[in-house]
């Protein structure tokens, strides 16, 4: 079956990012397809490569990047939400006149239409938030 996933909260502060990850891993192991994981609201904070969590804790950002690489999953950060919160790839940074960017590998920035499309194309859309 084809799943889409919406992640609405940032890493560590709420459990949503953990639940979404555990759900995604289980879905993949059961042979389901992940059409897209869309990050909205503070969820875009899952996509920063500048995080350095304590060594005895999980690295939520790296987990996503690894998952994207190993299973070729489409991780999309909402551009409007990312702009408000200061998450940018090189293109976005240049466009907004910023001197640095911080997006982690495996993610891409795109519009809210990608969320609607995720709802249309997948058999199921499930939301993890606060």
């Amino acid at each position: 079956m084809k799943f889409s996933i919406l992640v609405s909260e940032g890493p560590y502060t709420h459990e949503a990012a953990d639940t979404a990850y555990n759900f995604t891993k289980a879905a993949l192991e059961k042979g389901h397809e992940i059409f897209r994981i869309f990050f909205y609201h503070d969820g875009v904070n899952n996509g920063t490569r500048l995080a350095t969590p304590p060594q005895d804790d999980r690295n939520i950002v790296n987990r996503w990047s690894t998952l994207a690489q190993e299973h070729d999953i489409d991780l999309v950060l909402c551009v409007a939400a990312a702009q408000r919160r200061g998450i940018a790839d090189a293109d976005e940074a240049r466009r907004n006149g910023k001197d640095a960017d911080n997006m982690a590998p495996g993610f891409r920035i795109s519009g809210l239409g990608q969320l609607i499309e995720a709802g249309i194309e997948a058999d199921r859309l499930i939301t993890f938030g606060d």
Binding site: H41, G113, G119, T127, G129
Partner: protein, 133 residues
């Protein structure tokens, strides 16, 4: 084949950003030619109150945007009666949201439908995709 999308709004405006960012999804989603409904229940009914003035707070007043929903063909707006009553509100306290019905000589009609919790449960069950904020 179009899908039935329901946007469920349960949170008050301004205290958190969910109401505003939910509305942004609805506006983008309106371009996708799906069957769109909005539900306002619990503290979500506060999103639709009249007379919001945000100058002194220093934040953007996004309540006028709800009035534009009719122009985007978003005109099935369900407000839960029990949620209003628990908050001492009536429909008169809410923004008058309308649309022009192209099947009825563009007559202006109310977009807001007052429904009971039981009716709203049926509406939720009749959807293909439910997005909650």
């Amino acid at each position: 084949m179009s899908k039935r999308f329901l946007y469920v709004n349960r949170k008050a405006p301004y205290g958190t950003i969910y109401a505003l960012e939910s509305l942004e999804v609805v506006l983008i989603g309106a371009a996708f030619e799906q069957d769109v409904s909005l539900a306002f229940l619990d503290d979500g009914v506060f999103q639709l109150t009249r007379g919001q003035q945000t100058d002194e707070l220093g934040v953007k007043n996004f309540s006028p945007t709800y009035k534009a929903l009719g122009d985007y063909d978003v005109n099935k707006i369900y407000v839960e009666r029990e949620s209003l009553e628990a908050r001492g509100l009536t429909l008169d306290d809410l923004l008058p949201l309308t649309y022009e019905d192209e099947d009825d000589d563009w007559a202006e009609k109310d977009s807001i439908k007052l429904v009971s919790a039981a009716e709203l449960a049926e509406i939720m069950e009749a959807q293909d995709v439910v997005l909650s904020f």
